[in-house]
Assembly symmetry: C2
Homo-oligomer: 290 residues x 2
């Protein structure tokens, strides 16, 4: 069975999923995306992803391509046709197809929607978390509105590639001496007295959905949180470090630019938060779906 | 006759020109482009565009999809099949098609190339230059490597749209109080003593090919040039202002944020430079083609 994708308003084989070269996503990066985690057939943090999708589209003045209910129907159908129960669902919306010209096209041009899905291996993710990952740091040279989850990802690609070439799983981005976030995840540290520290929301970071849920988990666990920027050296000297994202959940960081964090093993607080995150996501997604 | 485009290694009707949704240009803005002007069947500033294309690709570590000679054959064939002699040729190269993942795909993945062409009306451009255009200013929130002519153009789109909504043809981008360039053109002013001023090259501006040729024309005409940043108020009080790009050639600016430049009519120096630019481009393209 070939993988199935949704594109140009229909379902079809993924390998035949084509869009027009005049799609503004292709020539102007004029669009947004979301990646949603599905475990056991249930979406984790679905409401958060859909709300952020609406915020990103609104910031760019792109219409929602479908109502939320219809969108969920299509997402479920893509999962069903691919026979996936543990998956990452990818949603991309662009300003549609129009002859190349910088300004927005006429209002009649409908936004373009693609939805794809691929298998997610939670056991493999747990194994990675048990080992922890290494990160490097790189200058944050992204544009000034990274709170919009746009497909304008070239600087993120370059930073991630630099990380991979250095044997790291992620690159933490540094602006004015402070870590903003990772190239595709939020960055956190744990202080010696057990408080979580992560960059505050604003135009300088993408407000991660997993970040928000992790904050809620920290509240549940009565862990203190400081939403403030931190430097690379503060991170290297921290008790623990970790990243959050839909694909990473909560994953401990054991090395930053070659310097061990703590004793170089995944931190206790990070692993506790990961378990709390999974339990919370299961509980909430179960309540929504039952 | 339908318009013809070159895509996926073949010529075909433009309306059927499709690329795969996993083309990294579509999901990561991981690619570059050039727009080349053709007048009377001859390329203007072709060498400059091809050299910059190679620089942009090199900066992103994307291979040239074709050798320069083959690329020119395809460009000419696209022009021929569209029966165009005055045209804009659009070239886009991306890192190719691979399952979605931030890091570069395997070396075997070939870059993707599209080439399209559309008619260019030089008389209409001359008419616009004779009237002059208005510009607004907007914050320059682009990433830190705009010297790479990447398709990561979302901030440019938003600035241009703001300009259009304000009745202007272009938005000049302002960083740290200084004009860097327009959203799709370089920005220039003429001082009271007749010197040209434009932002110096570097990571903060795209080094325009028309900008370079205009500098050469200024040398020919013995017009003094200062490559330095200028502020919005200096521009509003300047003797003249103008923009350069392959599609604008040299086009006078008569208003900045609603403030008339000079007497509000196209400037003498800008129009002289435009004529010099056209003469020079014709001479050089003629020498190359004859």
């Amino acid at each position: 069975m070939p993988k199935i994708a949704y594109f140009n308003g229909q379902y079809g084989p993924h390998h035949k999923a084509m869009v027009h070269i005049d799609d503004r996503g292709y020539q102007f990066a004029d669009g947004i995306y979301e990646v949603c985690l599905v475990i056991g057939g249930r979406y984790w943090d679905m409401d958060g992803h859909l709300a952020r999708m609406e915020r990103s589209l609104s910031a760019l003045r792109i219409r929602m391509p479908l109502g939320v209910a219809s969108l969920q129907v299509v997402m479920n159908e893509v999962l069903r046709r691919n026979r996936l129960s543990d998956a990452l669902v990818y949603i991309q919306v662009t300003r549609g197809v129009a002859p190349r010209n910088h300004p927005f096209p006429a209002d009649e041009v409908p936004p373009a929607l693609i939805i794809t899905a691929r298998r997610f291996d939670l056991d493999q993710s747990d194994a990675q978390a048990a080992t922890g990952v290494r990160v490097i740091t790189a200058p944050d040279i992204r544009w000034g509105r990274v709170d919009i989850k746009s497909i304008s990802l070239l600087p993120n690609v370059l930073a991630k590639q630099a990380g991979v070439e250095a044997g790291a799983a992620e690159a933490w981005l540094v602006r004015n001496g402070k870590v903003t976030e990772g190239s595709s995840s939020n960055a956190w540290i744990v202080t010696d007295d057990g408080a979580l520290v992560t960059h505050p929301k604003g135009h300088e970071i993408l407000s991660g959905i997993t970040r928000e849920t992790a904050l809620a988990c920290a509240r549940d666990l009565q862990i203190k949180v400081e939403e403030r920027a931190f430097s690379v050296s503060e991170a290297q000297q921290a008790a623990e470090a970790f990243v959050t994202s839909a694909t990473n959940l909560v994953t401990p960081v054991v090395q930053i630019d070659g310097v061990k964090v703590g004793d170089g093993a995944p931190g206790r607080v990070a692993l506790r938060l990961r378990e709390a995150y999974k339990a919370r996501a299961r509980r909430i997604s179960g309540a929504q779906n039952d």
